[in-house]
């Protein structure tokens, strides 16, 4: 059984792969890139929700910190959702420049966000939630995206 830290960090890696697929698809033909975009957007949204609706809540309940790191991570999720929306609009408008401008920004924002999570938040979550790790991972796995 993997730890919460490993489980979520591996999911970052999966999202990176889907991100690269999406950029490849847009570079080849923006007209037919919608599926690759949806695949990336859906998985990224799932990752955000696994954190926001499960892991962050458990962490906040356990530690009592609701205005700490999880609040900041939620804020960055909002920033990234904004960029994802701009990328969707760019694909609909078939505007490659606009798409790559936003995808480049999202990439850096996403990576520095992931670094902060993997560097600080996940080790802290692992420390506080290790006893319930199996249950929390199950909940994240079986969650339906809203």
């Amino acid at each position: 059984m993997s730890s919460i830290k490993e489980f979520l960090a591996e999911d970052h890696g999966r999202c990176d792969e889907l991100f690269a697929n999406m950029e490849d698809a847009v570079a080849n033909s923006i007209e037919s890139a919608k599926d690759a975009y949806e695949e990336f957007a859906k998985n990224t949204e799932k990752h955000f929700q696994m954190e926001e609706r499960v892991m962050f809540l458990e962490f906040e309940n356990k530690t009592g910190m609701t205005q700490g790191p999880t609040a900041i991570m939620r804020h960055e999720h909002t920033q990234m959702r904004g960029l994802l929306e701009e990328m969707r609009k760019a694909i609909e408008a078939k505007d490659k420049d606009k798409f790559f401008g936003n995808s480049e920004t999202l990439m850096i924002l996403m990576q520095q966000h992931n670094m902060k999570e993997e560097q600080m938040l996940y080790p802290m979550a692992q420390q506080h939630l290790s006893a319930d790790a199996e249950r929390i991972i199950d909940m994240m796995n079986s969650m339906v995206i809203e």
Binding site: A71, T78, F100, L109, K116
Partner: protein, 432 residues
């Protein structure tokens, strides 16, 4: 536990890294002008005053400023720690470093001993304030990674080379040189290039390449051992250099081997990257890998050729490797900082990162820079060419400055115009 590293509001103010980044190309332009007024024969000697001045206008003025600016910005992200009172610390050290570097250039060039002594003191203060603040910040690291170990090692080397550098510069100020002056100068330069800049770049590359380009991760052995092996090589080299100079080539080859392996790995990882998008930052990584390969080779054989080609080695490694990577980084980090800080302030209608710097201009800048490097090497053999390539170098640095300034202007213009008045602003405020 300290959460400051995670906070948007607690991230260093945008001015902290930007003032370093905006100043760096100006020092490179100054270096170019000094090259224009020098002759190639004088610059072929590593210990001529002109060579020392131009080298430091680049190594401190450009490379040092970019590295320190980037460290101030990246520490919270890469290590989850934050420099205490980062705003004021970076401001004070910036002033010391700015005047220290200028005084060093003018003091040595015009042989004014009081200015040179002042430069030694200012540079010592500027570097020590930042290096010690960063080392203190590292005490708060929760999860030590290979990158963090590399950054700490690099900073320890920086601490030693700063002390040595201040001593060497003060020697010029008082006009008295110890018997070990050249040995000190040699250790200072080798540890600065390989110990500080080299190890720092390796440490950051462990993170940056897999993350930003979705390249394959570095092997565990590489992340675990390379920095330690290079550090061992550098200490061994010091020991041999002091006591058994005849054998010091062995340690050099040892160090060169690992940097060559690193350069090759970087090139291969870029080939295997999942993100096929190519931009000026990728070209700079590639040119860095190629120049480093040539540089390590040239450095290793230079000993067998009476050290005649040390200036070429410096151009290949200092210019081709370190300078390339720093320039590439500026193209990524400055537009991102502008976007990030505007977005965090609630502005939504911001140009995308790719719209901030004209792609054709960044391409021209890259070509001019590479041309200048090749030209500088050619000038070693054909001295009359030097002034032509000094001009292409000045041009490339002027374009680099223009490119960074255009991104930074977007930040200040947006703040002034306040174009947004959409609901998202209120959403952000409500969340905070």
């Amino acid at each position: 536990m300290d959460f400051d590293g995670l906070s948007v509001d607690q991230a260093p103010p945008i001015s902290a890294p930007l003032r370093f980044f905006l100043t760096a190309p100006l020092f490179a332009i100054l270096a170019g002008i000094l090259i224009l007024f020098s002759d190639a024969v004088t610059l072929s000697s590593r210990y001529s005053v002109e060579t020392i001045v131009i080298t430091h206008a680049i190594t401190i003025g450009f490379l040092g400023f970019v590295m320190l600016g980037a460290l101030v910005q990246m520490l919270p992200v890469l290590a989850g720690v934050r420099i205490a009172k980062v705003g004021i610390v970076s401001k004070i050290s910036y002033v010391f470093l700015l005047f220290g570097t200028l005084f060093m250039i003018f003091g040595l060039w015009f042989d004014i001993s009081k200015i040179t002594l002042l430069a030694s003191f200012f540079l010592l203060c500027g570097f020590l304030i930042l290096i010690i603040s960063m080392l203190l910040a590292f005490r708060g690291v929760v999860h030590v990674t290979a990158s963090i170990r590399a950054m700490i090692t690099g900073l320890f080397f920086a601490l030693i080379i700063t002390l040595m550098g201040a001593h060497l510069l003060a020697s010029y100020g008082v006009g008295k040189f110890s018997a070990l002056h050249h040995v000190f100068a040699n250790v200072h330069s080798v540890w600065a290039i390989f110990g500080f800049a080299g190890i720092l770049i390796i440490g950051v590359a462990f993170h940056i390449l897999p993350m930003f380009y979705v390249a394959p991760r570095f092997k565990r052995f590489c992340k675990k051992s390379v920095v330690m092996l290079i550090t061992t090589g550098l200490i061994l080299w010091l020991f041999l250099n002091l006591f058994f100079d005849f054998y010091s080539t062995i340690a050099k080859i040892w160090i060169a081997l690992f940097f060559w392996a690193f350069a090759t790995t970087v090139y291969l990882k870029l080939n295997a990257r999942r993100r096929k998008v190519s931009d000026v930052t990728v070209w700079y990584w590639r040119s860095a890998a190629i120049f480093m390969t040539l540089g390590t080779f040239a450095w290793s054989i230079n000993d067998f050729l009476d050290e005649k080609y040390i200036v070429i080695v410096s151009i290949l490694i200092g210019g081709g490797f370190i300078f390339s990577i720093m320039s590439g980084m500026l193209y990524k980090i400055v537009p991102f900082l502008v976007w990030f800080h505007l977005n965090a302030k609630g502005y939504m209608s911001i140009p995308t990162m790719n719209d901030m710097i004209d792609k054709r201009l960044s391409k021209s800048q890259f070509i001019l820079f590479i041309l200048s490097l090749i030209g500088f090497i050619l000038s070693f053999f054909i001295p009359s060419l030097l002034s032509v390539f000094a001009i292409t170098f000045i041009l490339s640095m002027a374009v680099l400055e223009y490119n960074i300034v255009s991104a930074v202007l977007i930040y200040y213009k947006t703040l002034k115009r306040k174009p947004d008045f959409d609901m998202s602003m209120f959403t952000m405020k409500a969340e905070n």
